[in-house]
């Protein structure tokens, strides 16, 4: 948020002007929306962009406010029952939407703080552990060690993934599958699970959550 004092004159740098317009227009509509919710008033705001496009905000909608301003449809009786029902429904939707928005904004804040905490932990551990430094800062010798360690871990991850999906399959020292001793074998679908594929491919990781 800019805490600089703004000179109240047309912004000279075109890029700044665009950015300012975008932010302030959004903020303006947000304030208008809040005013409508808090005080139950009817509003219209029309804004032309520097590029000549037009943005408008209206409660209940832009058209009805414009018509009202031009005094069209004077027969609309603001206190009719039907009007109230429509109003009530609209107000309740908006209340729900506002709640939904609030929740998401709160969650963003929670996650942002979590991100900061994780970042702090990372920085602390980088001080103590050379292998956590950025790759470009490592010397050749250390890079090779790290590479080997990671390759090893990768193999182990593949193994573990296989284990997780095939928990009862294990091999004796002759690499004979235990199930070979029995009548029933795991079904083909099971054996061909993606974890088995990952094990054989070694590079079969999907993006998961990234």
């Amino acid at each position: 948020m800019g805490r600089q004092k703004i000179k109240l004159a047309k912004i000279e740098i075109k890029n700044h002007l665009q950015v300012t317009f975008s932010k302030r227009r959004s903020g303006l509509f947000k304030k208008a929306s809040e005013l409508c919710t808090l005080c139950g008033v009817e509003i219209a705001i029309i804004v032309f962009s520097p590029a000549g496009k037009v943005f408008s905000f209206g409660n209940p909608n832009v058209e009805s406010i414009i018509d009202r301003f031009f005094d069209l449809n004077p027969s609309v009786n603001p206190s009719s029952t039907a009007f109230h029902l429509l109003d009530a429904h609209r107000i309740s939707s908006i209340r729900d939407l506002n709640m939904q928005l609030s929740q998401i904004l709160n969650e963003i804040e929670v996650q942002r703080k979590r991100g900061e905490a994780l970042e702090k932990m990372r920085k602390n551990s980088q001080i103590q552990n050379w292998w956590e430094a950025p790759v470009n800062e490592l010397v050749f010798h250390d890079l090779e060690q790290l590479r080997d360690a990671m390759e090893e871990l990768k193999k182990n991850v593949s193994k573990q993934m296989f284990e997780v999906t095939n928990p009862t399959t294990f091999f004796d020292s002759n690499n004979v599958g235990v199930f070979d001793q029995y009548e029933t074998k795991p079904t083909q679908a099971f054996v061909n699970s993606s974890a088995a594929a990952a094990l054989s491919n070694n590079f079969g990781y999907c993006h998961g959550f990234f």
């Binding site: 047309k10 509003i43 406010i65 928005l101 551990s125 182990n156 991850v157 091999f171």
Partner: protein, 251 residues
């Protein structure tokens, strides 16, 4: 400026509502005016309230007519393209906020898995990781390895790698180094333990090569004990934590 967080709901108290209306309406008009001046654009505002029979406007009635006429001159499609009411406006904000949240989750997830990766590199076991975590861990390892290989190639091209200091002494005979230094040559990949029949893979016990690696006194600092590592470790057995990972994906 009020420091209390205002609940976004209709103010039922009549006088409080009227007071809020006056303040906020004034602020809104000021913002409209600033927008117009700073960006050199045309704009107008119309506010109907139960407190006045006539609407309150900015800049003035004439100005409003002018802007409205300008508005009406535009093709219908252009008028409605960026037109919103409260509902659609809030929906837009929800969509944007959801995207932001998704992005933040993704970043946090990457940070977490990075932490897991370093813990596993220093000996923590993989047993408590769920499939999703293993998947992400594997992906992250791939990413890191890509970078490492690239960097190794770069270094090989620009300068041949200097032999690690602990290597065998050069031809002219020299007194042997003081303490037996662990050399690169001593590092060996994990010897896979032969699992006894009936055991699940227990190869995650701290491997010998790793202890050597950790004790390697070349340029980097030494880890004194695993006490360091323990402080930093995530609790894998925290069920809530694991659940969070597996449900981390937000639609």
């Amino acid at each position: 400026m009020t420091r209390k967080k205002v609940k976004l709901a209709f103010i039922t108290n009549d006088s409080a509502r009227k007071a809020t209306f006056k303040k906020r309406k004034k602020g809104l008009m000021k913002k409209v005016s600033e927008l117009s001046t700073l960006c050199g654009i045309d704009t107008c505002a119309i506010i109907y309230s139960p407190y006045e029979s006539q609407p309150e406007v900015w800049p003035d009635t004439r100005g409003v007519h002018r802007v409205l006429a300008q508005f009406k001159r535009m093709p219908e499609m252009e008028q409605s393209k960026k037109m919103v009411n409260q509902e659609s406006f809030i929906r837009q904000r929800i969509a944007k906020a959801s995207e932001q949240l998704k992005k933040q989750h993704k970043e946090n997830r990457e940070k977490e898995i990075t932490q897991v990766m370093y813990q596993c590199l220093t000996g923590k076991g993989l047993e408590n990781l769920m499939m999703a975590d293993l998947n992400d861990l594997g992906w992250l390892l791939d990413q890191n390895l890509k970078e490492i290989y690239k960097r190794i190639d770069e270094l090989k091209k620009t300068a041949p790698p200097p032999p690690p200091q602990q290597h065998v002494a050069p031809p002219p005979p020299r007194p042997p180094p003081e303490a037996p230094q662990v050399t690169t040559g001593n590092l060996h990949l994990l010897q896979e333990q032969k699992p006894a029949v009936g055991l699940t893979m227990d190869a995650m016990q701290r491997p010998q090569w790793f202890t050597d690696w950790m004790n390697n006194p070349s340029d980097h600092q030494q880890m004194n004990s695993f006490g360091h590592g323990d402080e930093m470790m995530l609790s894998f057995t925290d069920n809530n934590h694991n659940t969070m990972w597996s449900n981390a994906f937000f639609p």
